[in-house]
Symmetry: C2
Subunit: 407 residues, 2 copies
């Protein structure tokens, strides 16, 4: 097997996303469990918020007409409990009143601010109708569309749902993502490889799974598959209980790299080999499922990521994140960025979108020099990525860069 | 009660953070549950990674000395299985070999790439010792400090822990944050306020709780407290099972705003009134607990946030996020930023850090015009905040702005 050709990252991503349909499964959940999920229904308010007129300030509710001409030198005198009513921010404005005079613009009857007994109140400012009054429906009106179907629910949105009296909502189910590590050299993470000569612990699976979860998917951890084309095909075919498949390892062009071939025989291999460093051997495809998937779709996206952990991670960020977000209907959030000055020159190869690892400290991005795709400590010892575009051949010391915070 | 004085937001935050000590409670968890938590121990590797020499390329493992002078025109011939051994990326390099010749630089014995039988292999490139070999400890050496105590564990870090054979780690417990809504006008979110005249549903609690959770805390939801100074003091005193308290409502200077006074009588009111719009009435303090808290500290931070939902949210972002992050020892992550052009002029008041709500669409930030601190739909209808510094009096149409993505 050879690379089909080296595809630019943005084009490869576009090809993949064009083949992905967002999932349709829905579920009804209490609103507090709807946080960070995506609405599968339009939300129309059945009530007005507020549903009664409220004071927007502490002071006295009045009939605006009664305050005409009032000023500090020429106050209007009103009978408390009759012509004016003491109100606090948020408290209801009585039906017969239509405005609020701020407490600062009054001289209360007696006992200062806390007087609630009957007496004469000096009103030292004129107000027009609805002054300092929250009117009915000021926030939301009965019949308003509060959220469209497809809206991603944030903390403030959950409060809004509660405010309009909604206890449960329909949301889209999170996509299930099968994670299949491949490689004859691997043993499960929990085992003691020392007891098995020349084996290494499989850890790409948990890494991919944690990011899948972060991006709104449900990781479905599958067993390690050895480098055997039939077993790899079988592992893919038996993942029909999922919405997408991510394989780690076996994606290059060596004699034991059976994953791209398996994708080709079970569906279509859209991309094999990308202009990404590290991450070049990544492959992307669709598996024919003839409607047998949990989502009843005809085809399921499959990502074949390199086994080297840094390459795996970088390819996951570039392809896994947008693919899962599209399946889950989650918005693609902007990156967390730190602006920094490069502490040293960094090299990159023209034609490759290059992820270099840096540690940002006091506004300076210090390159983490170990650069191998297999050296996970180069990432775990960094707090950011500097991503160098394909057209550039590295960056110079002191260049201003946007550093992507590694979450 | 009057505002102590209007404190600048950055100063108020600094004063609060100076009084907060990160929590000391620890717990031992399986590594997959340690994700997004903070290490409470230093991690030193007990093993080398890799613990054996591995091929970094597909090809033939050789003794480097045996390839001296090899070139396409003058290949060296080696006996497969004797002088050279077929290897794949990641597979062990036999003890007697010290380099790998890439498959592309060989002509295998027979049957092309997949030949593994004995025969003569043409080596067409000379290699030096360790060429294309991952040496023992190349990623991590036995005895290396992999993570310092206090390191925030990301997905890639969990993979690293697994790689060095660690199954459980000590992490700091997440801070417990009591959330106390106050206000005589409030009824629980689940109830039907229509049945109780002039009441409104309490929804700041769930909103605050969801963000607390997002920032690494555990929300502890307390019952609504009516506007009564004794009941408010009691609610604060009975929150000693937590590490911090957030109250919503009752924080201004009106007759029914009892929270700042309660803080003052139970400890110290550090700040009351901040240069934040919306969010001006926020108060910050410390409650004396005489070592009786779950964390055995002498004092517990308390945040008194406005009851108006937008003001509550903005004050929560400015004070709650850094306070909880410091308690939890979580790094303060950079914001998710969108660069945009302002679609219309927006106003702000000098001396106030002003949060304006915008909807970003195609690189243009359109101000969401309803600006009241009580109008939650102004946030739920926005995807970003444009934050205007204290020294400015608004921003002009077409100004370039950094918009903070609302999560």
């Amino acid at each position: 097997m050879v690379f089909k050709k080296r595809t630019r990252v943005d084009l490869a991503r576009k090809i993949l996303l064009e083949h992905i349909s967002p999932i349709e499964r829905r579920e009804r959940v209490p609103i507090k469990d709807a946080w960070d999920k995506v609405l599968a229904e339009r939300i129309v308010s059945a009530i007005d918020v507020p549903d009664h007129r409220r004071a927007a300030m502490d002071g006295y509710a009045v009939r605006a007409e009664a305050t005409t001409g009032a000023s500090p030198t020429n106050p209007v005198l009103l009978r408390e409990g009759v012509d004016c009513i003491r109100v606090h921010t948020g408290s209801p404005v009585p039906d017969e009143m239509n405005a609020v005079v701020m407490i600062e613009d009054t001289i209360p009857a007696e006992g200062g601010e806390i007087a609630e007994s009957s007496g004469i109140v000096e009103i030292r400012s004129a107000v027009h109708p609805n002054k300092h009054v929250s009117t009915v429906g000021e926030d939301v009106c009965h019949g308003d569309t509060v959220f469209e179907c497809g809206h991603h629910l944030r903390g403030c949105d959950i409060a809004m749902l509660g405010m309009i009296g909604i206890s449960h909502v329909q949301v889209y189910a999170r996509p299930r993502v099968a994670i299949i590590p491949t490689g004859s050299e691997l043993v499960p993470m929990q085992s003691e490889p020392e007891s098995e000569t020349n084996k290494i612990r499989e850890t790409n699976g948990i890494m991919v799974g944690l990011y899948v979860e972060k991006w709104g998917g449900i990781p479905v951890y599958k067993d390690i598959v050895i480098d055997d084309p039939d077993l790899i095909e079988k592992a893919i075919r038996t993942s029909a209980d999922c919405d997408a498949i991510i394989l780690c390892g076996g994606t290059s062009v060596g004699a034991r790299d059976y994953v791209p071939g398996a994708i080709e025989s079970l569906g279509s291999l859209l991309v094999h080999g990308v202009g990404l460093s590290p991450g070049k051997p990544a492959a992307l495809g669709m598996i024919d499922m003839a409607g047998k998937t949990v989502n009843e779709t005809e085809a399921m996206p499959v990502l074949s990521l390199p086994g080297y952990p840094v390459a795996c991670l970088v390819a996951l960020f570039e392809f896994g994140c947008p693919a899962i977000s599209k399946l889950a209907r989650m918005p693609l959030m902007p990156d967390r960025l730190m602006r920094a000055r490069l502490g040293a020159k960094i090299a990159s190869k023209i034609g490759y979108l290059t992820y270099t690892r840096v540690q940002v400290d006091g506004g300076v991005a210090h390159p983490v020099m170990t650069s191998g795709a297999g050296i996970l400590s180069s990432v775990t010892g960094s707090n950011g990525f500097v991503v160098i575009r394909e057209a550039l051949e590295g960056l110079d010391e002191d260049d201003e860069v946007d550093v992507i915070w590694i979450e």
